[in-house]
């Protein structure tokens, strides 16, 4: 008795898109399953927004296939629009309208869905119901944008960098709302360049770089794939340490230097820590700083590309 697999909410095959001579999306494949929250994680310029806007029917593709909810943009644009919830990266809603007026406007475009007030409740903007959009904080504006995406009771929700530019508290609040949607079984495709966001919210993550998916899996699988659950950082008074000697150690999966310090990816801390300290002593360098953290998606990206997600 095997359950019939639900058709994917979104399927992208061999997608390509170039702007003039810059290739934004370069043979991308994706499949978002119904009911999951899927994350596109990658640095700025990886092609995330181009990909999501092609899926939203806002940008034309050069080649490849895009099936959204089993429909194609060429034949079913109007029906698709009624079933999708979209949050663009940087829409400024009309500042002179109130929260409720804005949502009534968006609600009027969709044949079904909750009332404006219901959606206001879902994104916790009750107190701001009659406030002008111009007077909202960044986080409140983002929540209103999310509400605008929810008024049509969408079968698939696209969120393009929903928390970019927000302060940590506002970000956490928005994460809470998105996590609630995910628990309620909504199908979500979200793009982000915050690894923490992808780790917390997404059932599966595709790591994107230069218009391609370079790794795909659950956050746990991706982290496990680098064969090292922890990252140890050793500094020696700002002196540049020899990374090669550390990566030669048996218990170290990989090591690299960053600003002189060594970052070693290790599986078992109890074996690796003494070995690393021994090696440092052998090199005759004093230890001035030691930091250990559990491996994150950021470390996965670093392991795959040698670069960080965000260039600081």
């Amino acid at each position: 008795m095997s359950p019939v697999p639900a058709p994917p909410a979104l399927r992208v095959r061999n997608l390509r898109k170039a702007f003039q001579d810059v290739v934004a999306v370069d043979g991308l494949n994706l499949e978002v399953r119904t009911g999951e929250c899927f994350g596109l994680l990658g640095p700025n310029g990886a092609g995330k927004t181009t990909t999501i806007e092609i899926c939203e029917g806002l940008t034309d593709r050069d080649s490849g296939e895009v099936d959204v909810l089993g429909l194609s943009w060429e034949k079913n644009a109007r029906r698709l629009r009624e079933r999708l919830g979209i949050q663009l990266q940087e829409t400024q809603l009309s500042e002179k309208l109130t929260v409720h007026e804005t949502l009534s406007l968006f609600r009027s475009f969709f044949p079904r869905g909750p009332s404006a007030d219901e959606v206001i409740g879902r994104v916790q903007l009750e107190e701001k119901r009659n406030s002008r959009v111009g007077g909202l904080s960044g986080g409140q504006k983002q929540r209103l944008a999310l509400a605008c995406a929810l008024v049509g009771e969408p079968d698939l929700l696209f969120l393009d960098e929903p928390t970019t530019g927000l302060d940590p508290q506002a970000r956490r609040q928005l994460w809470g709302l998105i996590a609630e949607l995910q628990r309620a079984g909504r199908t979500i495709l979200l793009t982000t360049h915050y690894m923490e966001e992808a780790e917390r919210l997404c059932d599966r993550v595709a790591i994107m770089d230069h218009g391609k998916v370079i790794a795909l899996g659950t956050p746990r699988e991706l982290i496990a794939s680098i064969g090292a659950g922890h990252v140890v950082r050793l500094s020696s008074d700002g002196r540049t340490l020899d990374a090669a000697a550390f990566s030669a150690l048996e218990c170290v999966a990989a090591a690299r230097t960053e600003d002189g310090a060594v970052e070693a990816q290790v599986e078992h801390l109890h074996d690796a820590l003494p070995a690393l300290l021994n090696e440092l002593e052998r090199q005759g360098q004093p230890l001035t700083e030691l930091r250990v953290h559990s491996a994150t998606l950021e470390d996965v990206f670093v392991a795959l590309t040698g670069r960080r997600l965000r260039d600081e």
């Binding site: 829409t91 406007l105 009332s115 605008c148």
Partner: protein, 341 residues
């Protein structure tokens, strides 16, 4: 399910955005009234002005004082000519061996009038009698004064400004803020968005025309000789033509600066050429066909014909045709060019 029709919601948005912008209210409602009041006062009909002149001999002064419309001073030729140069007197009557010399600026209407009056007075004092008896009857009827000419001009100018600005700024601003893109991402039929501008414009038009025309009627007694229906047809056609022009201007511009530059480029020639403040007939004949083809000229000419002469719509059919042509042409091109993203 208290869901309004999208067109109603979109039109309400247009309204709210307009009403919540105090500057817009000022430019559309208050400014034209201030302008009409100011110009109406400046060019109000007044009894013929008394002209200041100078004469160089007491007997000339005596003769000239018989004319009530002249204010005569006795001066030596030197100071008199100096005053003439400064424009403080319109004419100097100077005695000469052969009779009298009039010094004045023949390009200045006051100078020419003063010369006529002075010459008549001096000739009469010297014993000239008029062979034909004449009498004056003054025509000061509403409909032929400057304010009557001005109000239809201001109405037309106002309709052009509010349609082009209203359309241009709102669309370009929404494009710049990616609000157009966001709307396109919903199932909203795109023509509803454009239609909402037209609906809100028509509703505002009633107020806009009512305020300016009502002010002219009540304060200055400007006549409304045409039918209300005729006036409505003219206003709607004119406003729609300018909405199309505004849409065309806004069809591609990405920044407010680019759009306002284009808007000024389009409107400036019409402010000058289309006869808002003075008759377009003053421009050389060679320009007339072009001036007649401008939408603002067509609108103002037909408004004047309707309000001042009570012309029927059939009599302003050429102007209506010009307006309709602008409307169709600009709308068609705008739809082809329009950029939503």
């Amino acid at each position: 399910m208290n869901r309004r029709h999208p067109l109603v919601e979109l039109t309400l948005v247009r309204f709210r955005e307009f009403v919540r912008e105090p500057e817009a209210i000022f430019w559309v409602f208050v400014f034209p009234i201030l302008l009409a009041a100011g110009l109406g006062l400046a060019f109000r009909n007044q009894p013929a002005q008394v002209l200041k002149i100078a004469a160089t001999r007491p007997d000339l002064v005596r003769a000239l004082r018989q004319e009530k419309r002249l204010d005569v001073r006795l001066l030596d030729p030197g100071p008199a000519i100096e005053l003439l140069r400064q424009g403080k007197v319109a004419l100097v009557a100077e005695d000469a061996p052969s009779g009298v010399i009039y010094r004045f600026d023949d390009t200045n209407p006051d100078g020419r009038t003063a010369r006529q009056l002075a010459d008549n007075a001096i000739q009469r004092a010297a014993g000239r009698s008029n062979p034909v008896a004449t009498a004056d009857r003054f025509m000061r009827e509403p409909g032929s004064r400057y304010i009557d000419f001005l109000i239809p001009g201001l109405l037309g100018m106002n309709m052009m400004g509010s349609a082009i600005w209203g359309m241009g700024f709102a669309v370009v601003d929404a494009r710049r803020k990616k609000l157009l893109k966001r709307l396109v991402a919903t199932p909203m039929p795109r023509h509803y968005y454009l239609l909402s501008f037209i609906l809100s414009r028509l509703l505002l038009l009633v107020v806009e025309v009512g305020v300016v025309a009502g002010f002219g009627m009540l304060v200055f007694g400007v006549p409304m000789r045409g039918s209300l229906g005729g006036l409505a047809v003219l206003c709607v056609t004119g406003s729609m033509a300018f909405c199309s022009v505004g849409l065309l201007i806004a069809s591609r511009a990405r920044t407010i600066e680019a759009a306002s530059g284009l808007m000024n480029l389009v409107m400036m020639p019409m402010w000058i050429l289309s006869g808002v403040f003075f008759s377009a007939e003053r421009f050389p004949d060679a320009f007339q066909p072009v001036i007649r083809a401008l939408p603002l000229t067509a609108l103002i000419d037909s408004l004047r014909a309707d309000m001042l002469q009570g012309a029927a719509l059939a009599q302003v059919a050429p102007q209506l045709g010009i307006l309709a042509a602008w409307m169709v042409l600009c709308f068609g091109v705008a739809l082809k060019l329009f950029r939503w993203k």
